[in-house]
Symmetry: C2
Subunit: 217 residues, 2 copies
DNA sequence: GTCAACATTCTTGTATACAAGAATAACATG
DNA sequence: CATGTTATTCTTGTATACAAGAATGTTGAC
Protein backbone atom coordinates (compact mmCIF):
# COMPACT_ATOMS: atom_id res chain seq x y z
CA UNK A 1 0.00 0.00 0.00
CA UNK A 2 1.22 3.48 -0.80
CA UNK A 3 1.86 6.03 1.88
CA UNK A 4 1.62 9.00 -0.46
CA UNK A 5 -1.59 10.81 0.16
CA UNK A 6 -1.15 12.54 -3.20
CA UNK A 7 -1.71 9.22 -4.95
CA UNK A 8 -4.77 8.49 -2.88
CA UNK A 9 -6.20 11.89 -3.71
CA UNK A 10 -5.55 11.39 -7.41
CA UNK A 11 -7.80 8.35 -7.31
CA UNK A 12 -10.37 10.10 -5.16
CA UNK A 13 -10.54 12.97 -7.63
CA UNK A 14 -10.83 10.60 -10.59
CA UNK A 15 -13.69 8.94 -8.76
CA UNK A 16 -15.42 12.26 -8.18
CA UNK A 17 -15.15 13.04 -11.88
CA UNK A 18 -16.38 9.61 -12.96
CA UNK A 19 -19.34 9.62 -10.61
CA UNK A 20 -20.20 13.08 -11.85
CA UNK A 21 -20.00 14.71 -8.43
CA UNK A 22 -17.57 17.04 -10.13
CA UNK A 23 -19.52 17.95 -13.24
CA UNK A 24 -18.26 19.16 -16.58
CA UNK A 25 -16.70 22.60 -16.51
CA UNK A 26 -16.57 22.73 -12.74
CA UNK A 27 -13.55 24.30 -11.16
CA UNK A 28 -11.42 22.20 -8.82
CA UNK A 29 -11.13 24.42 -5.78
CA UNK A 30 -7.84 23.45 -4.19
CA UNK A 31 -8.75 24.76 -0.75
CA UNK A 32 -12.14 23.08 -0.63
CA UNK A 33 -10.70 19.79 -1.84
CA UNK A 34 -7.85 20.04 0.64
CA UNK A 35 -10.29 20.52 3.49
CA UNK A 36 -12.50 17.75 2.20
CA UNK A 37 -9.66 15.25 2.14
CA UNK A 38 -8.10 16.55 5.33
CA UNK A 39 -4.77 17.50 3.79
CA UNK A 40 -3.01 20.64 2.67
CA UNK A 41 -3.13 22.10 -0.81
CA UNK A 42 0.17 20.54 -1.82
CA UNK A 43 -0.94 16.95 -2.41
CA UNK A 44 -4.19 18.20 -3.93
CA UNK A 45 -2.22 20.22 -6.43
CA UNK A 46 -0.03 17.27 -7.32
CA UNK A 47 -3.11 15.17 -7.89
CA UNK A 48 -4.62 17.84 -10.14
CA UNK A 49 -1.41 17.97 -12.16
CA UNK A 50 -1.73 14.27 -12.82
CA UNK A 51 -5.35 14.56 -13.87
CA UNK A 52 -4.34 17.32 -16.24
CA UNK A 53 -1.71 15.12 -17.86
CA UNK A 54 -4.16 12.31 -18.41
CA UNK A 55 -6.66 14.75 -19.88
CA UNK A 56 -9.44 14.64 -17.31
CA UNK A 57 -9.06 18.30 -16.43
CA UNK A 58 -7.62 21.34 -18.17
CA UNK A 59 -5.53 23.95 -16.49
CA UNK A 60 -5.74 27.64 -17.20
CA UNK A 61 -2.85 29.64 -15.78
CA UNK A 62 -3.77 31.59 -12.67
CA UNK A 63 -7.39 30.55 -13.08
CA UNK A 64 -7.36 26.95 -11.96
CA UNK A 65 -8.23 23.50 -13.18
CA UNK A 66 -11.57 22.63 -14.72
CA UNK A 67 -13.24 19.29 -15.28
CA UNK A 68 -13.30 18.59 -18.95
CA UNK A 69 -15.68 15.83 -19.93
CA UNK A 70 -15.39 14.98 -23.60
CA UNK A 71 -18.16 16.35 -25.78
CA UNK A 72 -20.14 14.17 -28.21
CA UNK A 73 -17.62 14.59 -31.01
CA UNK A 74 -14.58 13.77 -28.92
CA UNK A 75 -16.43 10.88 -27.34
CA UNK A 76 -17.13 9.35 -30.72
CA UNK A 77 -13.50 9.83 -31.58
CA UNK A 78 -12.48 8.06 -28.42
CA UNK A 79 -14.80 5.15 -29.12
CA UNK A 80 -13.41 4.92 -32.63
CA UNK A 81 -9.86 4.97 -31.29
CA UNK A 82 -10.83 2.27 -28.80
CA UNK A 83 -12.20 0.18 -31.64
CA UNK A 84 -8.95 0.54 -33.53
CA UNK A 85 -6.88 -0.28 -30.47
CA UNK A 86 -8.88 -3.40 -29.76
CA UNK A 87 -8.69 -4.41 -33.39
CA UNK A 88 -4.91 -4.10 -33.21
CA UNK A 89 -4.76 -6.19 -30.06
CA UNK A 90 -6.92 -8.82 -31.68
CA UNK A 91 -4.91 -8.89 -34.87
CA UNK A 92 -1.68 -9.42 -32.96
CA UNK A 93 -3.31 -11.91 -30.64
CA UNK A 94 -4.40 -14.06 -33.58
CA UNK A 95 -0.81 -15.05 -34.29
CA UNK A 96 0.40 -15.18 -30.70
CA UNK A 97 -2.36 -16.29 -28.40
CA UNK A 98 -1.45 -19.26 -26.24
CA UNK A 99 -3.68 -22.27 -25.67
CA UNK A 100 -3.92 -21.29 -22.05
CA UNK A 101 -5.07 -17.79 -22.94
CA UNK A 102 -7.66 -19.24 -25.29
CA UNK A 103 -9.02 -21.36 -22.47
CA UNK A 104 -9.18 -18.28 -20.28
CA UNK A 105 -11.12 -16.47 -22.99
CA UNK A 106 -13.56 -19.34 -23.29
CA UNK A 107 -14.10 -19.32 -19.54
CA UNK A 108 -14.65 -15.57 -19.56
CA UNK A 109 -17.14 -15.98 -22.35
CA UNK A 110 -18.99 -18.69 -20.45
CA UNK A 111 -19.28 -16.33 -17.51
CA UNK A 112 -20.66 -13.67 -19.83
CA UNK A 113 -23.18 -16.19 -21.08
CA UNK A 114 -24.16 -17.03 -17.51
CA UNK A 115 -24.70 -13.34 -16.75
CA UNK A 116 -26.79 -13.07 -19.92
CA UNK A 117 -28.89 -16.07 -18.86
CA UNK A 118 -29.50 -14.43 -15.49
CA UNK A 119 -30.34 -11.18 -17.27
CA UNK A 120 -27.86 -9.34 -15.08
CA UNK A 121 -26.36 -6.41 -17.03
CA UNK A 122 -24.03 -5.37 -14.22
CA UNK A 123 -22.54 -8.82 -13.95
CA UNK A 124 -22.33 -9.05 -17.73
CA UNK A 125 -20.54 -5.72 -17.78
CA UNK A 126 -18.00 -7.00 -15.30
CA UNK A 127 -17.31 -10.25 -17.10
CA UNK A 128 -17.27 -8.45 -20.42
CA UNK A 129 -14.57 -6.16 -19.09
CA UNK A 130 -12.53 -9.17 -18.08
CA UNK A 131 -12.94 -10.67 -21.53
CA UNK A 132 -11.60 -7.56 -23.19
CA UNK A 133 -8.68 -7.31 -20.80
CA UNK A 134 -7.77 -10.84 -21.77
CA UNK A 135 -7.78 -9.79 -25.41
CA UNK A 136 -5.43 -6.92 -24.64
CA UNK A 137 -3.13 -9.28 -22.81
CA UNK A 138 -3.29 -11.84 -25.58
CA UNK A 139 -1.82 -9.24 -27.94
CA UNK A 140 1.52 -10.15 -26.40
CA UNK A 141 2.37 -6.46 -26.34
CA UNK A 142 2.50 -5.06 -22.83
CA UNK A 143 2.64 -1.47 -23.98
CA UNK A 144 -0.40 -1.81 -26.21
CA UNK A 145 -2.15 -3.64 -23.40
CA UNK A 146 -1.56 -0.74 -21.04
CA UNK A 147 -2.75 1.83 -23.56
CA UNK A 148 -5.89 -0.15 -24.28
CA UNK A 149 -6.65 -0.51 -20.59
CA UNK A 150 -6.12 3.19 -20.05
CA UNK A 151 -8.60 4.19 -22.74
CA UNK A 152 -11.02 1.44 -21.74
CA UNK A 153 -11.02 2.85 -18.24
CA UNK A 154 -11.60 6.35 -19.46
CA UNK A 155 -14.62 5.27 -21.49
CA UNK A 156 -16.05 3.23 -18.65
CA UNK A 157 -18.72 5.71 -17.54
CA UNK A 158 -20.00 6.03 -21.11
CA UNK A 159 -19.97 2.37 -22.02
CA UNK A 160 -22.00 1.22 -19.11
CA UNK A 161 -25.37 2.68 -20.06
CA UNK A 162 -25.69 1.11 -23.46
CA UNK A 163 -25.64 -2.47 -22.19
CA UNK A 164 -29.12 -1.95 -20.80
CA UNK A 165 -30.48 -1.44 -24.30
CA UNK A 166 -32.83 -4.20 -25.38
CA UNK A 167 -31.04 -7.08 -27.01
CA UNK A 168 -27.59 -5.53 -26.79
CA UNK A 169 -26.23 -8.06 -24.32
CA UNK A 170 -27.23 -10.99 -26.48
CA UNK A 171 -25.77 -9.39 -29.59
CA UNK A 172 -22.57 -8.60 -27.72
CA UNK A 173 -22.35 -12.22 -26.65
CA UNK A 174 -22.60 -13.44 -30.25
CA UNK A 175 -19.82 -11.10 -31.25
CA UNK A 176 -17.65 -12.48 -28.46
CA UNK A 177 -18.11 -15.97 -29.81
CA UNK A 178 -17.16 -14.84 -33.31
CA UNK A 179 -14.05 -13.21 -31.95
CA UNK A 180 -12.89 -16.33 -30.15
CA UNK A 181 -13.65 -18.47 -33.18
CA UNK A 182 -11.59 -16.20 -35.40
CA UNK A 183 -8.79 -16.30 -32.83
CA UNK A 184 -8.81 -20.09 -32.85
CA UNK A 185 -8.68 -19.97 -36.65
CA UNK A 186 -5.72 -17.62 -36.34
CA UNK A 187 -7.37 -15.25 -38.78
CA UNK A 188 -5.93 -11.90 -37.72
CA UNK A 189 -7.92 -9.73 -40.09
CA UNK A 190 -11.19 -11.37 -39.14
CA UNK A 191 -10.44 -10.94 -35.42
CA UNK A 192 -9.57 -7.32 -36.02
CA UNK A 193 -12.66 -6.56 -38.06
CA UNK A 194 -15.01 -8.34 -35.69
CA UNK A 195 -13.55 -6.59 -32.68
CA UNK A 196 -13.59 -3.24 -34.43
CA UNK A 197 -17.26 -3.58 -35.24
CA UNK A 198 -17.97 -4.88 -31.77
CA UNK A 199 -16.61 -1.69 -30.20
CA UNK A 200 -17.85 0.63 -32.91
CA UNK A 201 -21.39 -0.54 -32.21
CA UNK A 202 -20.97 0.60 -28.62
CA UNK A 203 -20.06 4.06 -29.87
CA UNK A 204 -23.09 4.12 -32.16
CA UNK A 205 -25.42 2.91 -29.45
CA UNK A 206 -24.07 5.57 -27.18
CA UNK A 207 -24.58 8.15 -29.87
CA UNK A 208 -28.19 7.04 -30.17
CA UNK A 209 -28.71 7.44 -26.46
CA UNK A 210 -27.11 10.86 -26.52
CA UNK A 211 -29.26 12.21 -29.33
CA UNK A 212 -32.36 10.75 -27.73
CA UNK A 213 -31.52 12.40 -24.45
CA UNK A 214 -30.92 15.67 -26.19
CA UNK A 215 -34.24 15.63 -28.03
CA UNK A 216 -35.95 15.22 -24.66
CA UNK A 217 -34.80 18.53 -23.30
CA UNK B 1 3.29 32.18 -23.45
CA UNK B 2 2.77 30.54 -20.11
CA UNK B 3 3.94 32.09 -16.89
CA UNK B 4 4.01 28.82 -14.98
CA UNK B 5 7.57 27.86 -14.36
CA UNK B 6 6.38 24.33 -13.58
CA UNK B 7 5.39 23.90 -17.23
CA UNK B 8 8.70 25.24 -18.42
CA UNK B 9 10.54 22.85 -16.15
CA UNK B 10 8.47 19.92 -17.38
CA UNK B 11 9.75 20.59 -20.87
CA UNK B 12 13.28 21.18 -19.67
CA UNK B 13 13.28 17.85 -17.86
CA UNK B 14 11.86 16.05 -20.88
CA UNK B 15 14.65 17.57 -22.90
CA UNK B 16 17.26 16.40 -20.41
CA UNK B 17 15.88 12.88 -20.63
CA UNK B 18 15.71 12.91 -24.42
CA UNK B 19 19.22 14.24 -24.86
CA UNK B 20 20.42 11.61 -22.43
CA UNK B 21 21.90 14.09 -19.98
CA UNK B 22 19.72 12.31 -17.47
CA UNK B 23 20.56 8.72 -18.22
CA UNK B 24 18.54 5.61 -17.61
CA UNK B 25 18.03 4.75 -13.97
CA UNK B 26 19.32 8.09 -12.78
CA UNK B 27 17.59 9.68 -9.84
CA UNK B 28 16.01 13.09 -10.31
CA UNK B 29 17.41 15.02 -7.38
CA UNK B 30 14.80 17.63 -6.60
CA UNK B 31 17.20 19.96 -4.83
CA UNK B 32 19.85 19.84 -7.55
CA UNK B 33 17.28 20.37 -10.27
CA UNK B 34 15.69 23.21 -8.32
CA UNK B 35 19.05 24.94 -8.01
CA UNK B 36 19.83 24.29 -11.64
CA UNK B 37 16.64 25.91 -12.84
CA UNK B 38 16.74 28.63 -10.23
CA UNK B 39 13.43 27.76 -8.59
CA UNK B 40 12.26 26.01 -5.46
CA UNK B 41 11.47 22.33 -5.15
CA UNK B 42 7.74 22.86 -5.60
CA UNK B 43 7.61 23.42 -9.38
CA UNK B 44 10.27 20.77 -9.87
CA UNK B 45 8.13 18.27 -8.03
CA UNK B 46 5.08 19.17 -10.10
CA UNK B 47 7.10 18.67 -13.25
CA UNK B 48 8.31 15.29 -12.04
CA UNK B 49 4.74 14.25 -11.30
CA UNK B 50 3.84 14.97 -14.89
CA UNK B 51 6.77 13.02 -16.25
CA UNK B 52 5.72 10.13 -14.06
CA UNK B 53 2.21 10.17 -15.49
CA UNK B 54 3.48 10.12 -19.05
CA UNK B 55 5.81 7.26 -18.19
CA UNK B 56 9.21 8.88 -18.61
CA UNK B 57 10.12 8.38 -14.97
CA UNK B 58 8.98 6.06 -12.23
CA UNK B 59 8.38 7.08 -8.68
CA UNK B 60 9.25 5.00 -5.66
CA UNK B 61 7.71 6.22 -2.43
CA UNK B 62 10.17 8.04 -0.19
CA UNK B 63 12.98 7.16 -2.56
CA UNK B 64 12.43 9.51 -5.43
CA UNK B 65 11.89 9.52 -9.16
CA UNK B 66 14.11 7.63 -11.58
CA UNK B 67 14.54 7.99 -15.31
CA UNK B 68 13.09 4.95 -16.95
CA UNK B 69 14.16 4.52 -20.54
CA UNK B 70 12.36 1.63 -22.17
CA UNK B 71 14.42 -1.52 -22.53
CA UNK B 72 14.75 -3.39 -25.85
CA UNK B 73 11.57 -5.39 -25.31
CA UNK B 74 9.41 -2.45 -24.37
CA UNK B 75 10.91 -0.44 -27.19
CA UNK B 76 9.91 -3.07 -29.72
CA UNK B 77 6.47 -3.10 -28.19
CA UNK B 78 6.24 0.66 -28.57
CA UNK B 79 7.31 0.52 -32.19
CA UNK B 80 4.75 -2.18 -32.82
CA UNK B 81 2.06 -0.09 -31.13
CA UNK B 82 3.14 2.89 -33.23
CA UNK B 83 2.81 0.78 -36.36
CA UNK B 84 -0.70 -0.22 -35.35
CA UNK B 85 -1.66 3.36 -34.52
CA UNK B 86 -0.42 4.63 -37.85
CA UNK B 87 -2.16 1.82 -39.65
CA UNK B 88 -5.39 2.82 -37.95
CA UNK B 89 -4.92 6.44 -38.92
CA UNK B 90 -4.26 5.41 -42.50
CA UNK B 91 -7.24 3.10 -42.67
CA UNK B 92 -9.56 5.82 -41.47
CA UNK B 93 -7.90 8.41 -43.68
CA UNK B 94 -8.54 6.30 -46.77
CA UNK B 95 -12.26 6.95 -46.53
CA UNK B 96 -12.09 10.51 -45.24
CA UNK B 97 -9.06 12.26 -46.62
CA UNK B 98 -9.85 15.52 -48.39
CA UNK B 99 -8.42 16.57 -51.72
CA UNK B 100 -6.63 19.38 -49.99
CA UNK B 101 -5.03 16.98 -47.50
CA UNK B 102 -3.93 14.77 -50.38
CA UNK B 103 -2.22 17.72 -52.00
CA UNK B 104 -0.50 18.50 -48.73
CA UNK B 105 0.71 14.92 -48.55
CA UNK B 106 2.07 15.09 -52.06
CA UNK B 107 3.92 18.29 -51.24
CA UNK B 108 5.36 16.75 -48.08
CA UNK B 109 6.46 13.78 -50.11
CA UNK B 110 8.13 15.99 -52.68
CA UNK B 111 10.06 17.67 -49.91
CA UNK B 112 11.15 14.26 -48.64
CA UNK B 113 12.31 13.44 -52.15
CA UNK B 114 14.27 16.68 -52.28
CA UNK B 115 15.96 15.85 -48.98
CA UNK B 116 16.76 12.40 -50.33
CA UNK B 117 18.26 13.91 -53.50
CA UNK B 118 20.43 16.13 -51.33
CA UNK B 119 21.39 13.15 -49.21
CA UNK B 120 20.42 15.07 -46.09
CA UNK B 121 19.11 12.62 -43.46
CA UNK B 122 18.31 15.33 -40.93
CA UNK B 123 16.19 17.24 -43.41
CA UNK B 124 14.57 14.01 -44.54
CA UNK B 125 13.80 13.19 -40.94
CA UNK B 126 12.10 16.53 -40.49
CA UNK B 127 10.00 16.30 -43.64
CA UNK B 128 9.21 12.68 -42.90
CA UNK B 129 7.87 13.72 -39.53
CA UNK B 130 5.62 16.25 -41.21
CA UNK B 131 4.35 13.61 -43.63
CA UNK B 132 3.35 11.33 -40.80
CA UNK B 133 1.67 14.11 -38.88
CA UNK B 134 -0.40 14.79 -41.96
CA UNK B 135 -1.44 11.15 -42.00
CA UNK B 136 -2.53 11.37 -38.38
CA UNK B 137 -4.55 14.46 -39.16
CA UNK B 138 -6.07 12.90 -42.25
CA UNK B 139 -7.58 10.22 -40.03
CA UNK B 140 -10.23 12.78 -39.21
CA UNK B 141 -10.03 11.68 -35.60
CA UNK B 142 -8.51 14.33 -33.38
CA UNK B 143 -8.15 12.01 -30.41
CA UNK B 144 -6.31 9.38 -32.41
CA UNK B 145 -4.20 12.11 -33.94
CA UNK B 146 -3.13 13.28 -30.49
CA UNK B 147 -2.32 9.79 -29.30
CA UNK B 148 -0.27 9.08 -32.40
CA UNK B 149 1.66 12.30 -32.01
CA UNK B 150 2.33 11.54 -28.36
CA UNK B 151 3.83 8.15 -29.10
CA UNK B 152 5.66 9.45 -32.15
CA UNK B 153 7.28 12.05 -29.95
CA UNK B 154 8.24 9.51 -27.35
CA UNK B 155 9.95 7.34 -29.97
CA UNK B 156 11.74 10.26 -31.55
CA UNK B 157 15.17 9.64 -30.00
CA UNK B 158 15.12 6.02 -31.14
CA UNK B 159 13.80 6.55 -34.62
CA UNK B 160 16.40 9.06 -35.63
CA UNK B 161 19.43 6.79 -35.77
CA UNK B 162 18.08 4.27 -38.20
CA UNK B 163 17.61 6.74 -41.05
CA UNK B 164 21.36 6.88 -41.48
CA UNK B 165 21.44 3.22 -42.45
CA UNK B 166 22.45 2.68 -46.05
CA UNK B 167 19.51 2.75 -48.40
CA UNK B 168 16.89 3.24 -45.70
CA UNK B 169 15.92 6.74 -46.82
CA UNK B 170 15.28 5.65 -50.36
CA UNK B 171 13.26 2.66 -49.25
CA UNK B 172 11.27 4.85 -46.88
CA UNK B 173 10.55 7.20 -49.76
CA UNK B 174 9.15 4.38 -51.91
CA UNK B 175 6.89 3.32 -49.07
CA UNK B 176 5.62 6.87 -48.77
CA UNK B 177 4.63 6.83 -52.43
CA UNK B 178 2.81 3.55 -52.00
CA UNK B 179 0.92 4.96 -49.06
CA UNK B 180 -0.26 8.01 -50.95
CA UNK B 181 -1.23 5.91 -53.94
CA UNK B 182 -3.30 3.62 -51.76
CA UNK B 183 -4.89 6.65 -50.15
CA UNK B 184 -5.86 8.02 -53.55
CA UNK B 185 -7.33 4.63 -54.40
CA UNK B 186 -9.27 4.80 -51.14
CA UNK B 187 -8.08 1.32 -50.28
CA UNK B 188 -8.12 1.40 -46.48
CA UNK B 189 -6.64 -2.02 -45.89
CA UNK B 190 -3.79 -1.40 -48.29
CA UNK B 191 -3.01 1.95 -46.66
CA UNK B 192 -3.07 0.30 -43.27
CA UNK B 193 -0.84 -2.59 -44.25
CA UNK B 194 1.67 -0.42 -46.06
CA UNK B 195 1.89 2.00 -43.16
CA UNK B 196 2.16 -0.80 -40.64
CA UNK B 197 5.06 -2.36 -42.49
CA UNK B 198 6.62 1.04 -42.99
CA UNK B 199 6.79 1.61 -39.24
CA UNK B 200 7.50 -1.98 -38.32
CA UNK B 201 10.64 -1.82 -40.45
CA UNK B 202 11.85 1.07 -38.32
CA UNK B 203 11.47 -1.09 -35.24
CA UNK B 204 13.37 -3.92 -36.87
CA UNK B 205 16.14 -1.66 -38.09
CA UNK B 206 16.43 -0.26 -34.62
CA UNK B 207 16.57 -3.75 -33.21
CA UNK B 208 19.41 -4.53 -35.58
CA UNK B 209 21.33 -1.49 -34.44
CA UNK B 210 20.75 -2.40 -30.80
CA UNK B 211 22.01 -5.95 -31.12
CA UNK B 212 25.00 -4.78 -33.13
CA UNK B 213 25.85 -2.23 -30.49
CA UNK B 214 25.51 -4.82 -27.78
CA UNK B 215 27.83 -7.31 -29.49
CA UNK B 216 30.48 -4.57 -29.63
CA UNK B 217 30.79 -4.24 -25.88
C1' DG C 1 38.80 -7.76 9.69
C1' DT C 2 33.78 -8.38 9.37
C1' DC C 3 29.36 -7.63 10.60
C1' DA C 4 25.59 -5.72 13.16
C1' DA C 5 23.39 -2.06 15.84
C1' DC C 6 22.95 2.60 16.37
C1' DA C 7 23.29 7.52 15.30
C1' DT C 8 23.54 10.91 11.86
C1' DT C 9 22.53 12.95 7.60
C1' DC C 10 19.95 13.39 3.56
C1' DT C 11 15.81 13.27 0.79
C1' DT C 12 11.24 13.01 0.13
C1' DG C 13 6.40 14.23 1.41
C1' DT C 14 3.39 17.58 3.52
C1' DA C 15 2.13 21.91 5.65
C1' DT C 16 2.35 26.68 5.85
C1' DA C 17 3.78 31.37 4.40
C1' DC C 18 4.19 34.67 0.95
C1' DA C 19 3.73 36.86 -3.91
C1' DA C 20 1.03 38.04 -7.73
C1' DG C 21 -2.68 37.81 -11.00
C1' DA C 22 -7.84 37.27 -11.45
C1' DA C 23 -12.46 37.88 -9.91
C1' DT C 24 -15.47 40.68 -7.49
C1' DA C 25 -17.34 44.48 -5.01
C1' DA C 26 -17.57 49.33 -4.06
C1' DC C 27 -17.72 53.69 -5.82
C1' DA C 28 -17.59 57.69 -8.62
C1' DT C 29 -19.07 59.85 -12.84
C1' DG C 30 -21.72 60.74 -16.89
C1' DC D 1 -29.43 54.17 -13.77
C1' DA D 2 -25.64 52.46 -16.39
C1' DT D 3 -20.91 52.16 -16.86
C1' DG D 4 -16.04 52.63 -16.19
C1' DT D 5 -12.60 52.70 -12.61
C1' DT D 6 -10.48 51.56 -8.50
C1' DA D 7 -9.99 48.88 -4.24
C1' DT D 8 -10.57 44.63 -2.00
C1' DT D 9 -10.72 39.83 -1.69
C1' DC D 10 -9.76 35.38 -3.36
C1' DT D 11 -7.13 31.90 -5.65
C1' DT D 12 -3.34 30.24 -7.74
C1' DG D 13 1.76 29.67 -8.07
C1' DT D 14 6.08 29.54 -5.59
C1' DA D 15 9.09 29.47 -1.62
C1' DT D 16 10.17 27.90 2.77
C1' DA D 17 9.58 25.18 7.08
C1' DC D 18 8.81 20.95 9.22
C1' DA D 19 8.04 15.68 9.67
C1' DA D 20 9.33 11.14 8.66
C1' DG D 21 11.48 7.41 6.22
C1' DA D 22 15.77 5.96 3.68
C1' DA D 23 20.62 5.96 3.03
C1' DT D 24 24.97 6.32 5.08
C1' DG D 25 28.62 6.51 8.40
C1' DT D 26 30.35 5.17 12.94
C1' DT D 27 31.23 2.37 16.64
C1' DG D 28 31.48 -1.79 19.19
C1' DA D 29 31.46 -6.85 19.58
C1' DC D 30 33.15 -11.09 17.91
Amino acid sequence: MTIRSADRITKELEHLVFTGELGDGERLDEIKLAKRFGVSRTPVREAIQKLATSGLVTQEPRRGAFVRQPGPVELMEMFEAMAELEASCGRLAASRVSDDALVQLQIANDKCQAALDQGDPDLYYQENEHFHHLIYKASGNGFLEQEAQKLHRRLKPFRRVQLHLRGRMKQSMCEHRDIVTALIDGDGDRVANTLRDHIAIQGEKFHHLMTNLKSDT
